[in-house]
Amino acid sequence: MVLDKLGSALKSGIKKISNAIFVDKKLIDGIIKDIQKSLIEADVNIELVFALSQKIKKLAYDETIKGIDKKEQLVKLIHDEITLLLGKEKQLKLPKKASLMFLGLYGAGKTTTIAKLGFYYAKRGRKVALLGLDTQRPAAMDQLEQLAKQTNLQAFIDKKEKDPLKIIKQYSKDLEKYDLVLIDTAGRDGLNKELIKEIEKLDKRLKPDYRILVMPADVGQTAKTQAEEFQKALSIDGVIVTRMDGTSKGGGALTACAETKAPVFFIGVGEQIHEIETFNPESFIQRLLGMGDLQALLEHVKSATDEKQTKRIEERLQEGKFTLLDLYSQLEQMNKMGSMDKLIGMIPGMSAAKVPKNVLAKQESKMKHWKNAISSMTEDEIENPEILEKQTSRIQRVSKGSGTTTTEIRELLKQYKMLKEMMGMQSGLAEGKIDQKMMQKMAKKFRGKVKF
C-alpha cells in the first residue's frame, strides 16, 4: 500500500504519545524525527514537512497544556495535519455536458488515463469522445486511436497535422454531439515558458470545464514546483495521480496537489484500462493510521493513560512534597495495577519481560513490611525521609518498633530516593532539562535496584 511506512511511523508516534508517562521534549523530538523521516521518504515537500514539525513542537512545548489534554491535542493535531496534507475529498461531479483537458509532465500517464476515464464514464452511460492534440510525441495519435478501439470509444485524431489548434477547428462540430470530451495534450514541463504558453492557448480556445493535471506517484521534490507552475498558468481543477500501483508512497504528488487546492479525483493503479480508482483522503488516512477515525484514536489515548495517577504525582511534586506515604501509595497502586510490569511497560523503551513471575507475591509481603515500618515513623521522618539516612539511630528505632530489618528499611529509603528522583524530573520537564531518555535510564536503575 502506498504511504505504508508513513502509516507505521504515525501509528508508532501516536502510540508513544499515548503510552508515555510524560510528554517531554526528547519524546516529542523523537516522534517528530520519525514522522519527518517517513514523510520525506514519501516525497512530501520538505517545507511542508518542517512546517508540520514546527506545529507539533509548538503544541508539545506549550506548558499551559498538560497531561491527557496535551496527549489528546497532539494526536488530534497529527491526525488533522496529515489529513490537511492530503486535501479534502471531492468527487468529480460532471455536468450533463462536459469537457476535460488533461495536461502534465512527459510520460506521466495522460493518454492512458484518458482512455481509462473514457471507459469509466462510458460504462456510466456517457457518450464519450477522445480528442488527440498531442502532435509532439511520435505515435501519440496511434496510441489514442488504439486505446479508443480497445475501449469502444470515439477518438478524434489527426496523424499528420502539427498544429493542435487546427485539429480543434477540424473537429469542433463533431464534438458537439458528445456529452463528455476528454482532451489529450502533449507532455510538458511546467517550467518551460514556451510550452506553458502553448497550453494556455489551447485552454483559451477550448475553454474546457475541467483542467486535469496528471502526476505520477513517484515524482519527488519537483512535484510542488510543477503543480504550482501548472496551477499558475491554468488554474487546475483537479488532479489524477498515476502509477499508484508501484512502491512509491505518492506523498509528493498527493501533497503538492493538496497545496494547489485542486482535489485528487482519481488515482491510476495499473496499466490496464479498468485500473483507476476514486480517491478519498479520509479513508486513506484511516488505513494509514490503522484505526478507525479520530475518535477511535482519542479513545486509545485515554485508555492508555492512567490519568489519576499521573495527576496526583504531578500535584504532589508541584507542592514540592513527595513523602514516604506517597511512595507507599504509589507502590500500592502499582500492585493493584498488576505489579511493576505495568509501570515499566508505560515507560517507552522498557520491557517488562525480564521481571520474574514470583515477583508479585514477594512484593506483596515486602509491601506489608514497609507499611509497618512507615507506621513506626514520626511525621517528620515520613515527610523528610532524608533524616533517617543521616541518623542511623532512627533506622534502628523504626526497625525495632515495626519488626522489620534495617536492610528492609534502607531498601525502602532507596526506593523512595529513586522514585523521588524519577518523579522530581517532572519539575525539570517543563524547562526541557530532563527528557524521556533520562527517565528511561532512571527507570532502569530503579528496576535494577528493586530486589523483591
Partner: protein, 356 residues
C-alpha cells in the same frame, strides 16, 4: 541540472561561515532559480580561494557557536575545539535538509551522513573542512562511466552484435532514449538496429517504428501480444545476418514490484544475453528511485543507468540516489525530447557543477 543543489550548498557553507545555524530559516525558496548565473561566472581559481577562506571562517564560527552558549566556561573550554557528535548532528541537520530538498533519497542522505560522521566527529575543528568532506562523500557515491563507444568497439572485436536491453518503469523514457542512443551510436560510426520488444503498450510499436524511420535504421517487430524475448532474439539474428554492430532492445514499462513482469524482463535477458543492461530512470523521481534502481539491478544485474528528463529537473539529487543504491555508473542523462538531447554523464563535471 545541479544548479539548485549547488546554490543551496554554497549558501549553507556561507551561512555556517556567518555562524548562523538556525534551522528555521530555510524559507529561501526563491533562491532556487536566480543566482545561478552569478555563480557560474566565478572562475575556478577564485573558487578555491573562496572555499579556503570559507573554511577558515567556518572553523572560527564552529568554535564560536560551540563556545558561546555555554555558561560553564573555563574548565570545559579545551575540550570544545573538537567536533562532538551533538554538534555534528546539529550541523548536518541543515545539510540534510538541503540534500533532501534537492531530491536526494533519504537513504542516500543517511549514507552520506554516516561517512561524514565517521570522518569528522572527534576531529580537531581546525582540520574540519566540511565542503571538502561533502565533496568526497558525494564523489565516492557517483561513479565515472566507462567510455561507452570504446566499450562497444572493444567488444565488437570479439563478438557481434553488441546487444543492449533497456528496462524501467512505465513512461520513464525508454523508447525515446533508445532512439537517442541509436543516433549517438550512428554518429560514432556504428551501425544500429532496434527491437520492438514492448509488445504490450498501445502504439508502442508505431512509436519506435517512427523513430526507426526517422533515423533510417532497421526495426525488428512482431504483432502486439507476442513474446518480447522472441522479438529480441529475432533482432539479434537479423543483426548477425546483416552485420549490424549494435542491437537496442526496447521493453515495455513495468513497475518493479510486479513479479510476473519482472520475471518477463529476466526472461528477455536470459534469451537475448545482452552485453549491456540499462536501467532507465527519471531524474524527477523521488525516494522511489532507490527502490526502482535496486529492483531492476537485483533482477537483471544492470550494467548502468540512464536518467531521462534531467532538463525538467532543477534539483539533481536522483543521480546520487540511484548511484548509491546500485553502485552502478550513470551512463547518460536525457536532456530533452530531441535525438541530440543525450549527454554523457561526467562525474567531474557534475561535482564541479555542485560547486564543491
Amino acid at each position: 541540472m545541479f544548479g539548485a543543489l549547488k546554490e543551496k550548498l554554497k549558501k549553507w557553507i556561507t551561512k555556517n561561515k556567518e555562524g548562523d545555524l538556525d534551522i528555521k530559516g530555510h524559507d529561501e525558496k526563491k533562491v532556487d532559480k536566480s543566482p545561478k548565473k552569478q555563480l557560474s561566472k566565478k572562475k575556478k581559481v577564485k573558487k578555491s580561494k573562496v572555499l579556503e577562506k570559507q573554511k577558515d571562517e567556518l572553523e572560527q564560527s564552529l568554535e564560536e557557536t560551540i563556545n558561546t552558549p555555554s555558561e560553564e566556561k573555563g574548565f570545559f573550554i579545551k575540550f570544545k575545539k573538537r567536533l562532538t557528535e551533538e554538534k555534528f548532528e546539529e550541523l548536518f541537520e541543515e545539510l540534510e535538509i538541503i540534500l533532501l530538498q534537492n531530491n536526494v533519497a533519504y537513504e542516500s542522505v543517511e549514507s552520506i551522513k554516516k561517512s561524514l560522521a565517521e570522518k569528522l566527529i572527534g576531529k580537531n575543528l581546525k582540520e574540519v573542512d566540511l565542503a571538502e568532506e561533502l565533496k568526497n562523500a558525494i564523489e565516492s557515491i557517483l561513479i565515472n562511466p566507462p567510455d561507452f563507444i570504446k566499450t562497444i568497439k572493444d567488444s565488437l572485436e570479439i563478438k557481434s552484435p553488441f546487444v543492449i536491453v533497456f528496462a524501467g518503469i512505465n513512461g520513464s523514457g525508454k523508447t525515446t532514449t533508445i532512439a537517442k542512443v541509436a543516433n549517438y551510436l550512428q554518429k560514432n560510426k556504428l551501425s544500429v538496429s532496434l527491437a520492438a520488444a514492448d509488445t504490450f503498450r498501445a502504439a508502442s510499436i508505431e512509436q519506435i517504428q517512427q523513430h526507426a524511420d526517422n533515423l533510417k535504421i532497421h526495426l525488428t517487430k512482431k504483432d502486439y501480444g507476442s513474446d518480447p524475448a522472441s522479438v529480441g532474439f529475432d533482432a539479434i539474428t537479423h543483426a548477425k545476418k546483416n552485420k549490424i554492430d549494435v542491437v537496442l532492445i526496447d521493453t515495455a514499462g513495468r513497475m518493479q514490484n510486479k513479479d510476473t513482469l519482472m520475471k518477463e524482463i529476466e526472461k528477455i535477458v536470459r534469451i537475448t544475453k545482452p552485453d549491456m543492461k540499462i536501467f532507465l530512470g527519471e531524474s524527477i523521481t523521488g525516494n522511489d528511485a532507490t527502490e526502482q534502481a535496486k529492483a531492476f539491478n537485483e533482477s537483471t544485474d544492470i550494467t548502468g543507468i540512464i536518467l531521462s528528463k534531467s532538463d525538467i529537473d532543477e534539483k539533481g539529487g536522483t543521480a546520487i540516489s540511484v548511484s548509491q543504491a546500485t553502485g552502478k555508473p550513470i551512463l547518460f542523462l536525457g536532456t530533452g525530447q530531441k535525438y541530440e538531447d543525450l549527454e554523457v554523464f561526467d562525474k567531474k563535471k557534475m561535482i564541479e557543477k555542485l560547486g564543491l
